[in-house]
């Protein structure tokens, strides 16, 4: 059997380190030894297929039982591409976020901000043949965390993506343009070089915006791409 064509190694500066001193939770959780580089085998280039039959899509986070969540309704749309610029079709995109007041629908979140019975804050969408995805939600609020004195997370939406290969699996966060908290956030600031960080910020997009309904943001996501030809990556 021919060796599978591997995904390229991640580019220098494109990813955060495991050890991020300004983010306290990394202190006892990052491995001391650098992860061991292995050649990609069938295991790493294959991936589970997530058929909507078993993983029901949930594209509208902005209502529960037809009742509207509080906050500013928004549409988030974008394309999932690989590093070679090719669309990634049939990718499963999972989304979770705080409500408009900055509170997660989660028992461990005790921030003194109201829960909203009409906002559960989780969704699931699939990319189409061109890699496009789209969902409707409300703009999340900022919330405090205890990483350092007066620490506040910039407003963000969590994304989890399953592509065509296990090596493409990505969990990330989408931020909003112009958020003054971005400059102060050790997670965002620790996320690779300036270009890598800027890729995490969505763009306001009038094309995505729906008249008389909701502002639109565009957030394109890039997953790892395969090398053009097999090469030794061990």
């Amino acid at each position: 059997m021919a060796d599978p064509i591997p995904y390229r190694p991640l580019a220098e500066g494109s990813q955060p380190p495991y050890d991020l001193p300004a983010y306290g939770s990394t202190h006892a959780r990052h491995p001391k030894a650098a992860p061991l580089r292995i050649p990609q085998t069938l295991t790493e280039v294959s991936a589970p297929r997530f058929a909507p039959t078993w993983y029901a899509p949930h594209e509208d986070l902005s209502t529960v039982d037809g009742k509207a969540a509080l906050g500013e309704r928004i549409i988030v749309a974008g394309r999932v591409l690989d590093e070679n610029g090719r669309p990634v079709p049939d990718a499963m995109v999972e989304i979770w976020q705080a409500n408009a007041a900055g509170r997660y629908h989660h028992p461990r979140d005790q921030h003194d901000a109201p829960l909203d019975p009409n906002f559960l804050g989780r969704g699931r969408v699939f990319t189409d043949a061109e890699g496009n995805y789209r969902f409707t939600t409300v703009k999340p609020g900022a919330y405090p965390w205890r990483n350092h004195w007066n620490a506040w997370r910039p407003i963000h939406i969590h994304f989890g993506l399953h592509g065509a290969g296990f090596a493409q699996r990505l969990v990330t966060q989408m931020y909003f343009p112009g958020d003054p908290l971005l400059d102060l956030d050790p997670i965002y600031q620790g996320s690779g070089d300036a270009e890598a960080r800027s890729r995490l910020v969505a763009a306001f997009d009038l094309q995505v915006t729906q008249p008389e309904w909701a502002l639109g943001y565009r957030f394109d996501i890039v997953l790892r791409g395969r090398a053009a030809t097999p090469f030794e990556n061990a």
């Binding site: 959780r29 650098a34 997660y104």
Partner: protein, 179 residues
């Protein structure tokens, strides 16, 4: 060429996308209902560099079917939240041997990915099965320093259960893989 979007921590509230039933790959109403093979449990405990339980992790599993195939219909994906003791527990079928680089054969293995608060990127490791005759010739295990190979080998705990504890940092640190 474009660069891959940066990974970010899953944070402490990822459970909003937790569906506990996904930890049972053989669930009656799931994609593998009725699949044939050796039923096993893969369980373990995740601890950090201070020995404390990692009680907020999202653990994902990816594996081949009992014949060692990834594309023959078995949905080899599971997800489990760690409990207050850092424990995870999957029910699945024991995977078969999988082709490796060149003409090599990989011993049966299950990939484990860990996402959590404090992990800016996923940690990826493998669970092999103690006593498997193919371990000695596994091309990936051969790359792991001998003294640390045990961190990738699940041990039988009776009744089809296999245990592999995962240490994120420090003494006995699990070997994580850069794939």
């Amino acid at each position: 060429m474009m660069h891959a979007t940066a990974s970010q921590t899953a944070g402490p509230y990822w459970h909003m996308i937790d569906f506990p039933e996904w930890a049972d790959l053989l669930r009656a109403d799931g994609p593998n209902a009725g699949a044939a093979g050796e039923r096993i449990v893969l369980a373990g405990r995740i601890t950090d560099g201070t020995g404390a339980a990692v009680s907020d992790a999202m653990v994902e599993l990816w594996q081949a079917d009992p014949e060692g195939r990834y594309d023959a219909g078995f949905h080899g994906f599971g997800r489990c939240a760690t409990d207050l003791q850092g424990g995870f527990r999957f029910t699945t079928l024991k995977p078969g041997a999988v082709p490796g680089p060149g003409n090599s054969t990989q011993a049966p293995h299950i990939v484990i990915s860990i996402f959590a608060r404090g992990l800016m990127r996923a940690l990826v490791t493998r669970a092999y099965f103690a006593g498997d005759v193919l371990l000695a010739q596994d091309p990936i295990l051969a790359l792991v320093p001998e003294a640390r190979r045990d961190t990738l080998i699940a041990r039988p705990a009776g009744n089809g259960e296999w245990r592999l504890d995962i240490r994120l940092q420090g003494e006995g640190e699990t070997v994580f893989l850069d794939v």
